[in-house]
């Protein structure tokens, strides 16, 4: 008994940690999308806001990249599904003897690093372009075209795996039966094989779309002068981010949840069809499926709740305005400053109350920076430094009075370097 309770506690704890590890970052990031702070953060919560979604919608570069991503994903879906289907048919139906080496060839792009695929696609078409003396706006240097080709090399292999697993469940007697009843090979494919493959075509298309949409390491090379969502995001991260990226993340997570629910629903429905042999009456089958599905899968119920919560949030946003909260926050800050101002500067000159920090560096550095980091991040630090440097006659005294007198001492004082040569 004892060991079993210990075990269940241990397993429970492990699950919490595991799912925390999986979903913690997503949840945190989603929350930052609703904080009015300029930097994506949760802890000092400023104001609940939707302004980052607005900012996102106004970001032309990002939207441009997003559009490109959709176009590329569409192209990849078309090419990959066709190549993957052809490959799977080749492997399972047409020429089973070629299986080992053909399989190796088609699967190998999955094993090759995406970076290599990207570079080699770029180089190949560049060389080809040089050979035929193509201009730079020809197809050989078109980022969208190259990216579709580059991504399709390995995404088509994913699709093929999906098709193979479906085709392995295909009863070859069905094909023979169709032929025996007088159907041509084309008719057999269209009337027997293709309907059987429809679900797999759907799965492969979704898989190809997602794989293309989120791809970065191949795309970054093949995209040339254009941009996709992932390359734009990577650039933004390099130059500093704001919570509009979190807003984008929220949208993507929401779409993923909706997609996952839809897919799971379809899968369950198919399962039910097979299990109950109810293929005709879709309406009642759907009712049954909702029942069986909801009772059977707590994770999906959870996702459903998240989805409902998302809808609720959208409704709330139409009723709520962040402007008032931000005004309140600013007022509070000003109030705090005003309240602190007179107390601090009582002994000093009255004129200094407008620009409190500049003259009286020591007192200001000590009292105004009530954050745990001392004066290090005080925006005035840099401004002060030149002031000190302007009056080098102060020498050591000025150094002691500089913001360096905070917890970090003089180490980071910008004029330390200046002082040495003196």
């Amino acid at each position: 008994m004892k060991s079993s309770t210990f075990l269940s506690i241990f397993v429970g704890g492990y699950l919490v940690i595991f799912f925390g590890y999986l979903f913690g970052p997503l949840i945190l990031m989603s929350i930052t999308a609703f904080n009015s702070s300029q930097f994506p953060r949760v802890a000092p919560w400023d104001c609940f806001t939707f302004e980052w979604f607005g900012e996102l919608a106004a970001d032309d570069k990002l939207l441009d990249g997003l559009g490109n991503s959709f176009i590329i994903a569409g192209g990849v879906v078309v090419i990959s599904v066709m190549i993957g289907l052809a490959g799977a048919l080749m492997l399972t139906q047409v020429w089973p003897r070629a299986r080992p080496w053909y399989y190796t060839i088609v699967i190998s792009p999955i094993l090759v690093p995406g970076v290599v695929l990207g570079i080699s696609t770029l180089l190949f078409w560049d060389r080809l372009g040089v050979m035929v003396d193509a201009s730079y706006d020809s197809v050989f240097y078109n980022g969208t075209f190259l990216t579709v080709l580059g991504q399709s090399t390995f995404i088509s292999a994913y699709c093929m795996l999906v098709f193979i697993s479906r085709l392995q469940r295909f009863d070859p007697a069905l094909e023979e039966a169709a032929l025996d009843l007088g159907a041509t090979h084309v008719q057999t494919f269209r009337k027997i094989m293709l309907p059987f493959l429809y679900p797999a075509i759907g799965s492969a298309a979704v898989l190809a779309f997602l794989a293309s949409f989120e791809n970065y390491n191949t795309t970054v090379f093949t995209i040339v002068a254009e941009s996709t969502l992932t390359t734009v995001l990577a650039n933004q991260v390099r130059y500093g981010i704001n919570p509009s990226i979190s807003a984008l993340a929220v949208i993507i997570v929401a779409l993923t949840i909706v997609g996952a629910i839809a897919h799971e629903a379809m899968r369950r429905r198919e399962e039910l069809k097979v299990r109950r042999g109810e293929l005709t009456d879709t309406s009642s089958a759907f009712g049954n499926f909702m029942q069986g599905w909801l009772s059977g899968n707590p994770a999906m119920i959870l996702l459903m709740l998240v989805f409902v919560a998302g809808l609720g949030t959208v409704w709330f946003s139409s009723q709520y305005s962040a402007g008032q909260c931000k005004l309140d926050l600013r007022e509070q800050k000003e109030l705090l400053q005003q309240r602190q101002g007179p107390d601090i500067f009582l002994p000093g000159s009255d004129a200094g109350s407008d620009t409190p920090a500049l003259e009286d560096g020591a007192t200001d550095g000590g009292l105004d920076n009530n954050s745990g980091f001392g004066g290090v991040f005080d925006p005035n630090n840099l401004e002060q430094a030149p002031t000190d440097a302007d009056t080098p006659s102060d020498g050591e005294g000025a150094g002691a009075e500089s913001p360096g007198s905070s917890t970090f001492g003089d180490v980071f004082a910008p004029d330390n370097l200046n002082e040495e040569p003196q």
Partner: protein, 367 residues
């Protein structure tokens, strides 16, 4: 029986690499008859069927349907329709769509197809079930849909590959008579593959018994049962008690065999007449139902001890051992009277020479 289209196999050999699946098959199937290939699994009977339907080509020899050589003609161009062992009904289509598939691929309109499907549903006694999915039907119903689907193609020859093997006993017996009735009704040639001798004997006009790629005997059911041409056929079709020995005397159509249980006399099988001589290794076969417990009246007597007894309802079987250790089986009609007795009881069995068959010694069926 109307005159249908016959099927002829001439010197057909079918090889898969080194393996010979069918060896020199010569079969002439008359138009409109119900013809069965009977044999244990792996004897090549399904291979013959696939060769007739066009899914594989014979390595040697010719197959002709209605006098036309079928070499190089694909399965979709042959006047045959095959009913698969697993039926191979299209799971994503309704019953009527399944049945009318052959018309669909010929480009027939939906109304026409539906009308024909309904006609065939009448024939197979499933009226009004056209809108159902195949998965909603029972095993026997699926069976009949498969037959209707094949008939819809209006084949000259219907090929059936053990279609009843997946059904339970009662249904199988029912389907046997139904298949026979349908065959009489449509009047086309049926070629039936089975390992179940009961199916073959009850339904067929002619039966070909196969063993390891070789056709051992082609004849009607009664002849195969009563006058087998090889030891294999004698032991595979029905049950038989077999005793091996040397021929000690031949008189007219009868031979005496010197076996371990004594001298036994039997009729020489038609196929062995003239080829069997005094001093040859031979076997004598006697059916369990021909063995009597009375021990009087005939010259063929065997002393045996009861091992077990089995009650089957209409008949009861007694399993005995002779003094030299051979197993003997005896079947008697249950008349509600006395039984053979408890294990260990010694008795003298007897049988008529006319009911025993003498054949040259050969390999027996392992079943």
């Amino acid at each position: 029986m109307s005159a249908g289209v016959g099927v002829d196999l001439k010197d057909v050999w079918i090889r898969f690499g080194e393996f010979v699946a069918v060896r020199e098959a010569n079969v002439a199937i008359e138009g409109g008859e119900f013809f069965s290939f009977l044999g244990p699994s792996g004897c090549g009977k399904t291979t013959i069927l696939r060769a007739v339907s066009g899914f594989l080509d014979p390595s040697e020899g010719t197959i002709s349907i209605g006098g036309a050589n079928m070499a190089g003609i694909g399965p979709n161009k042959r006047p045959t329709a095959l009913i698969f062992q697993n039926l191979a009904l299209f799971p994503l289509m309704t019953v009527w769509e399944n049945i009318a598939f052959a018309m669909e691929v010929q480009g027939a309109g939906k109304k026409e197809r539906r009308r024909r499907a309904d006609e065939l549903l009448e024939l197979i006694a499933l009226p009004g079930q056209g809108e159902k999915m195949v998965s909603e039907l029972s095993g026997g119903q699926r069976q009949r849909v498969a037959i209707a689907r094949a008939l819809c193609a209006q084949p000259d020859v219907l090929l059936l590959d053990e279609p009843l093997s997946a059904l339970d006993l009662k249904l199988r017996q029912h389907m046997r008579s139904e298949l026979r009735a349908i065959q009489r009704q449509v009047g086309i040639t049926f070629i039936y593959i089975t390992h179940d001798q009961g199916e073959a004997l009850t339904m067929s006009d002619h039966v070909a018994v196969m063993k390891a790629g070789v056709i051992e005997q082609i004849s009607d059911g009664q002849t195969i049962y009563d006058d087998p041409s090889t030891a294999f056929v004698a032991s595979f079709v029905g049950e038989n008690n077999a005793f091996a020995g040397k021929v000690s005397a031949i008189s007219k159509n009868q031979a005496t065999i010197d076996t371990s249980v004594g001298k036994l006399r039997g009729r020489i099988a038609t196929a062995a007449r003239g080829t069997i001589n005094k001093g040859d290794e031979a076997m004598i076969f006697v059916r369990p139902e021909a063995v009597s417990m009375s021990g009087t009246g005939t010259s063929n007597k065997i002393k045996a001890r009861v091992r077990t007894e089995e009650f089957e309802g209409a008949v009861y079987n007694v399993f005995l051992n002779t003094e030299s250790g051979e197993a003997v089986k005896l079947s008697a009609v249950n008349q509600g009277g006395a039984r053979a007795g408890s294990p260990g009881t010694e008795m003298t069995l007897s049988f008529n020479a006319a009911q025993a068959v003498v054949l040259p010694r050969g390999e027996l069926a392992s079943e």
